[in-house]
Amino acid sequence: MPRVACLVVPRFAVAALHRAEPELRGCPVAVCEVASGARDASERVRPHAPLVEVSPEAERRGVRVGASVAQALGASSDLVVRPLDPVSLAAARAALLEVGASISPRVEIEGGLPSVDPAAATDPRCARGVLHLDVDGLDRLHGSSEGLLAALLYRSAAIGLGGGAAIADRRATARIAAGLAARRGEALVVPPGGDAAWLAPRSIDVLAVVADGRGEPGAPGRRRARAAQAGWPRLRGEMERLGLRRVGEFAALDASSVATRFGAAGARLWRIARGLDDEPLVPVPPPVEIVEGASLEYGETSLEALMFVVRGLVDRLAGRLRMQALACRGLALALRLDDGSRVEREVGVLAPTRDVKSLALLVRAALESDPPQAAIEAVSLAALPDRARPDQLDLFRPAGPAPARLATTLARVAALCGPGRVGRPVPSAGHRPEAFALSDFAGPRRVDEPVPPEGLAAPAIALRAIRPPCPVEVFVEAGRIAYLRAAGFGGRTVAAAGPWRVDAEWWSETRCRRDYWEVQLSDGGVYRVFREADAWWVDGCYD
């Protein structure tokens, strides 16, 4: 017998808001519909906009779903009202889907794949956090069904959503049980083969969550009224007239009489009540992109205030990456400005990491290097996932830093120093003496046999580079360099060697044709000077 788990996050729009703004936990909060045609962020909450979800604290103060914002504020003056944010709602749904995918390969989320389309956000199914998972045989991975549900609830809580979960044989039974469990944030396990027996003593009202066309609490008024005429309220009224109070009483009816009296919707509920529901799971793949975003209440111009939001986004991204044992190789920052334009930035990360501080530093550096030209209304961050760097220990080599810590430190140092300033030097294409590039650093190259230091050849004297080359005045006497003078140093020539000609890239317009000398001056220094196109330069000092 297959087993299905269901995770329900109650008041999902509020849960998504709490996830985006954790400081609102414990406050009376309501989420209202976004006013159509709002020109800017401050106009998105209008007094007549209906509430689509309220927190338990707001409910205790008499605020109800469906009331207008003005009515709600009349009932509770300290109520916090936020417009339904499709970006944070989609991010919360995507995170929920990833939680399911971390437990089972076959996961279905009610409302389909998360979308940031504002039209999709008004779909009531998208405002629900309901996840179905095929967990057949997976309980052995977690010790028991209870262990599996505990893992599911723990991961859901780790991404800031929580909820309740249940396991049953049938999808509809699991949904009903999870709905009941979600009220207390607990887990319920319906014994295998016991769906009908578990449902029988329950009130007939528990079928509401799986009935077709039930009055959606989050649905706009007209849609809710139309659904109420044809759906669950009509069925519920007929059951009440027949004196059916328990699911078991409804299940005991004859199949043909149920179909005649209640129609197709009733027959479907009858099959659910008898534990015969055969509705298949429609799995959806987890999102490829890991995106977090937020719409700001007002257009933001201060970098510090924006970084407060960005740090929260990075923190949530890191949490999602951690759950999938992934690290971040790069970030794509997208800003929507109040002049209607959109700004996109690529933020490179030197080594895959999940370190929030380093990633936030990198985003800050990207914003500081090229600040947006208008107030910011919405910000979103997409992480480019990558596997954390593995490391193979070696018996014959000294151990280096742990790969994860190395990646974090390199990312932090790169954020401090700026792009293109940390890595290992590698030769670059070309023949110019100063040509090199920086590549990713992953530790010293493996050598088959360690070389003892005394086995090294006597090294040549090292050159300290002067970047960029410094112009120098050269006095030539009898074809020899007699005197050098430059900013900061100068002197009579004691000894000199050269010239050595470097003629590189002669095929290109930026030809490099230089004559090099090594010159020892009376100040004790040995310098490397070159002549290029009748100008003299010093590009290093032997030290």
């Binding site: 120093c417 300033r421 940390v422 890595g423 010293p444 090292a462 960029p468 100008a535 030290d543």
Partner: protein
């Protein structure tokens, strides 16, 4: 009651700003050193540059401080150990380091834009641990004068943060004891040897070992009437007294 416990009690009574000072390890064993590969110097240092300590190498002009640091780094890389070069002076030459026996592709090269960032980056690497050697080059480049003439732009933008307007601030920062004490403390918590390359300046009290180098002779090869070749140099090294060691100061000569 032990002395340590009593000391903790006394410190607890003092205001919160009072902290225990940095005390580098008193004795360093031979296996706790990074050999330089230069016999006389290793002998004078009881094995080499001490790990878990801050060591300073000072010298002006062509004194050989970079050659010595490259030599230590090359030895460490050849043994498969991890080496980082924090290049506040932007003077590291990857092509030239090949000639010194160092495989530059095994090296982590950090090119901070200014000295303050360089000190921060070095501290991050020390806190990370796992590196055998971190070379911190704060020795300013030779040409510390005014901006290059307009022709200088043909060779790319200026990269070094210790030139021009920043030079005075950098000099002040290098002379300040506090960052060096922080670095020395970070060193002592790991097995990393921190080798600071400096020009002349105020004496740092945080360093466990100080080497002062000055050029003795530049060696040119003029055999057989052929054009001269720069063959190397001889440098005189004043090996300062090391903390925990009874050896007096002594001067040796090195062939680099």
């Amino acid at each position: 009651m032990s002395v340590a416990l009593r000391l903790e009690e006394l410190l607890a009574r003092l205001p919160g700003t009072v902290r225990l000072g940095h005390a580098p390890p008193a004795r360093v064993g031979r296996d706790e050193c990074l050999p330089t590969g230069l016999g006389p110097l290793d002998e004078a240092l009881d094995g080499g540059i001490p790990r878990a300590c801050l060591s300073e190498v000072r010298g002006t002009g062509s004194a050989g401080i970079t050659s010595l640091a490259l030599r230590v780094a090359a030895g460490a890389v050849a043994r498969g150990e991890w080496v980082a070069w924090v290049d506040a002076a932007d003077a590291f030459d990857p092509v030239g380091s090949l000639g010194a026996g160092l495989d530059p592709e095994s090296l982590l090269w950090v090119r901070p834009p200014d000295l303050r960032t360089a000190l921060g980056a070095a501290e991050q690497l020390l806190v990370l641990g796992g590196f055998a050697l971190v070379v911190l080059d704060v020795s300013p480049p030779v040409a510390t004068g005014g901006p290059a003439r307009d022709g200088g732009r043909a060779h790319g933008p200026r990269l070094s943060g210790v030139r021009g307007a920043h030079a005075r601030d950098a000099a002040r920062l290098v002379a300040t004891a506090q960052p060096w004490t922080r670095l020395a403390r970070a060193c002592s918590r790991s097995r990393t040897a921190l080798l600071a390359l400096r020009r002349d300046g105020g004496a740092s009290t945080a360093a466990s070992l100080r080497l002062e180098m000055r050029p003795a002779e530049i060696l040119w090869d003029r055999r057989g009437g052929a054009p001269a070749l720069l063959r190397g140099m001889r440098a005189r090294v004043l090996v300062g007294r090391r903390r925990g060691s009874r050896r007096p100061e002594r001067e040796i000569e090195l062939h680099l």
